[in-house]
Subunit: 368 residues, 2 copies
C-alpha cells in the first residue's frame, strides 16, 4: 500500500484526466515530464483513476511512492497538498496513509479518545469544555472563572486562543495561577477538571512555555497549528507528559477548509490531517453557530475523527463556535457521545459561571 490522495477537480470533466496527470507531476517531480531523467522515475506520483462525479466535478486518485515522504510529516504535507494549494478548483477530499508510514512520521494522537477518557476519568459521557475569556481580564479574574468552571464540573478548561502573553495576563503569571485555581476547584468539588493553557509560543519560547505549563500542573495544551505549524503539534504530542491532552484550535488553519472548491475538505483537515499531527481533539465550527459548516459537513468531520485511518487512534470532534447549553441534547444526538462539547461565552450568561457549568454537566449526563 502507498499514500493515496483523492482530489476533487472542479471544471470541465473533459479536462480532468490531463489536470490529474499535471497534478501528480506537480506534487512529486514538479518537472516537465518530457525532461525528467529516467533514474528519477521511482519518485514520481501516478494517477490511479479519474472519475466523473458531477457535471463539473471529477475525482482524481493519485498514488505517491512512500519514499517521497522521507519519513517526515513536513514532507508528507508538501507532497499531498503543497503546490496544489495554489490552485483553485483542486481540493483534497480523501487521504490514505499506510500504517507503517504514519508510525514512521511519528504521527497520531498520544491519547486519542480512549486516552482522553482515561485521564479525565470520564468513561462514557460526552466531555465538556469551555474557554477562559475574554482577553483583557487580569489573571485573578481568569483564575476565578477557572475555579468556578472546575467546581461546576467542566472537564477541559482552556485558555481562549486570544490569550498569548499580553500585559493583562502574562503567560508566566497566568498559567500557574489558573492551574492552581482549577486544582482548588477540583479539591472543593471532587471533579478532575484539566487546565489547557493556550500554547502559541514562538519557537524560541516553546521549551520555556512548555516547562511552565508542566510545572504548573496543567493537564494539556490548546495548540494553534495554523500559526505554529502542524509539525509543532506533532512534536508536542511526542514531547509532553503522557497524560497531556492536546486540543487543536482552528485559528488560521480553518482557512484551508473554507472554499468548497479548493483547499482541504473539512473532514480531511479536522480528521486525518490533525490526527496525523497528533491532536487528541479538534475544535471546529459546528453547524448552527457563528460559522458556516452544514450538518453534513459536521457529520463528515466527526467521521474523519473516528474512522479507521493509518492505524492511528481516533480523536475527539470538538464542535464549538457559538454553542449554548440548551443545545446539548441536540448536539449529543447528532455527534454521539465521543465528542467534546465546547461552550464558551454562553456559560457567562446569567452571571453564574459555576451554575451554568453545573447545568451544562447535568444536561450532558442526562443525554449520555
Amino acid at each position: 500500500m502507498s499514500v493515496r490522495a483523492v482530489y476533487a477537480l472542479t471544471g470541465d470533466v473533459g479536462d480532468a484526466p490531463a489536470r490529474a496527470e499535471a497534478l501528480a507531476v506537480e506534487q512529486s517531480h514538479e518537472f516537465p515530464p518530457d525532461l525528467a531523467p529516467a533514474k528519477a522515475a521511482p519518485s514520481r506520483a501516478h494517477v490511479v483513476s479519474v472519475e466523473e462525479a458531477g457535471p463539473d466535478l471529477a475525482l482524481a486518485t493519485v498514488e505517491f511512492p512512500d519514499d517521497l515522504v522521507g519519513d517526515e510529516l513536513t514532507q508528507l504535507i508538501v507532497m499531498v497538498f503543497g503546490n496544489c494549494a495554489l490552485l483553485p478548483g483542486v481540493r483534497l477530499v480523501d487521504l490514505d496513509v499506510p500504517k507503517a508510514l504514519a508510525a514512521a512520521v511519528g504521527g497520531g494522537p498520544a491519547l486519542g479518545v480512549e486516552g482522553v477518557r482515561r485521564v479525565l476519568g470520564v468513561p462514557t459521557r460526552p466531555i465538556l469544555a469551555t474557554a477562559l475569556k475574554p482577553v483583557g481580564l487580569p489573571v485573578e479574574d481568569l483564575a476565578a472563572l477557572g475555579r468556578a468552571f472546575a467546581e461546576g464540573g467542566i472537564d477541559l478548561i482552556k485558555d481562549d486562543q486570544g490569550l498569548g502573553d499580553q500585559r493583562w495576563a502574562p503567560y508566566a503569571e497566568r498559567v500557574p495561577r489558573i492551574a492552581e485555581a482549577i486544582a482548588e476547584g477540583n479539591a472543593a468539588s471532587g471533579h478532575a477538571a484539566r487546565y489547557l493553557p493556550c500554547f502559541d509560543a514562538p519557537p524560541e519560547r516553546v521549551e520555556e512555555r512548555l516547562r511552565i505549563a508542566v510545572e504548573s500542573g496543567a493537564g494539556g495544551l490548546l495548540v494553534v497549528p495554523g500559526v505554529g505549524g502542524l509539525p509543532l503539534l506533532r512534536w508536542l504530542a511526542r514531547n509532553t507528559p503522557d497524560d497531556f491532552v492536546l486540543l487543536a484550535h482552528p485559528a488560521l488553519l480553518g482557512s484551508l477548509a473554507v472554499s468548497p472548491t479548493a483547499g482541504i475538505a473539512p473532514d480531511v483537515l479536522y480528521g486525518p490531517l490533525l490526527r496525523l499531527s497528533g491532536a487528541d481533539a479538534a475544535i471546529f465550527p459546528s453547524y448552527g453557530g457563528r460559522f458556516s459548516f452544514t450538518p453534513e459537513e459536521c457529520r463528515a468531520i466527526a467521521d474523519g475523527c473516528a474512522r479507521p485511518f493509518a492505524g492511528l487512534a481516533p480523536s475527539l470532534p470538538t464542535p464549538g463556535g457559538g454553542m449554548s447549553p440548551d443545545r446539548v441534547p441536540e448536539l449529543v444526538d447528532f455527534y454521539g457521545r465521543d465528542v467534546v462539547l465546547l461552550i464558551g461565552g454562553e456559560l457567562h450568561r446569567g452571571g453564574d459561571p459555576r451554575g451554568a457549568a453545573e447545568r451544562f454537566r447535568s444536561l450532558a449526563e442526562q443525554h449520555a
Copy 2:
C-alpha cells in the same frame, strides 16, 4: 497609531455594518458583547469604518489595541486573521502595523532587497534563481546541476521544495555536497552563486539541519512557512548568519490566497505578512505560468513586497511556477529590476543547464 486591518466582506452590503462589528468582537474578545466585563474593554477591537465597495462588497476597517499582540508574531496572526479564517465571505485585504510593534515582534527581513543585493554582489540587475530537481535524483546528479547553474551565472540555486530527507538524497549528505559543487562552480566561473537548501525540518531537527547548512557554506534557506509556520521563518531570520538569504516558498501557505472572497489577499500574504515574518524574498505563482494569478494580482504582490510597511525592509517578489528564459524581457518590464526571476524545469530543456543558465543571465543583463 494602532494595528489596522481591512476586511472585504462579500454579501449584502446592508448586513456589512453588523458583520463588521461581529468581526471586531470575534478577533478580539470572542465573547458576547452584552456580557463583556467593563475591565476588559481596553482589549476590544473596534470598527473604524464600513464602506460600500460594490453591489455585494463592503470594506470594513478594524482597529486593534496594540497590547492585544503581546509583542509576539504568533498572537498578531491570531488577532488579525485567526477565527475569521473560518468565515467564507471575509477576506483580509490590507494591514497596517505600527513600526514599534513590528520591531517588538522581531519582524522584518534581516536583509531585504538591499541586503540580498549586497551579499550577492548584484547591485542593480534582476536576481536569478533556479531549483535543483526533480526529487529522486541522487546527490551527485543534483550537485552536478548545482555546479552547472553556478557556472552559468544563476545567483540563487535552491533545492526544490520537494527535497526533504528522502533516501535518494538525504539532507545530511546532499547539503554539504551541493554546497561544495556550487562553490566549485563559482571558483571556475568567478560568479558568486548561493545555495539555498530546502529547510522543512520538523521541530526536533531544526537546529541540526541549520547547523549542517551553515557548516556546509550554504548561502541561505528555502523555507516553507505554510508547513513549518510563519513563526519559524521569523526565528530563522533572527537566528541565521547575517548574510543568509531567506526565500519563502508558498507550498500550503498559498491556499490562504486562492479564494477571491475568503482568506488573505495575495498582495497582503506575499507582501506584508511574509515581510513581518522575515522573508527576504517571496515566491509566488506568476501570471502566465501553471497557476492562476492575474497580472493585476501579480502587480499588487510586487507592490506589497516593495511598499512602505511597518518600517520594515522591502522584500523581493519572486515570480515562478512555469516561467521560461524567453519571458525574461517581459517579466522585467512587468516586475521591474527589484525582482528574483525563478525558472526551474525549463532550464533543463535542451539538456544543457549551464548553457541555459548563461542565456538566462544574459537576457537578464540585457534587460536590466
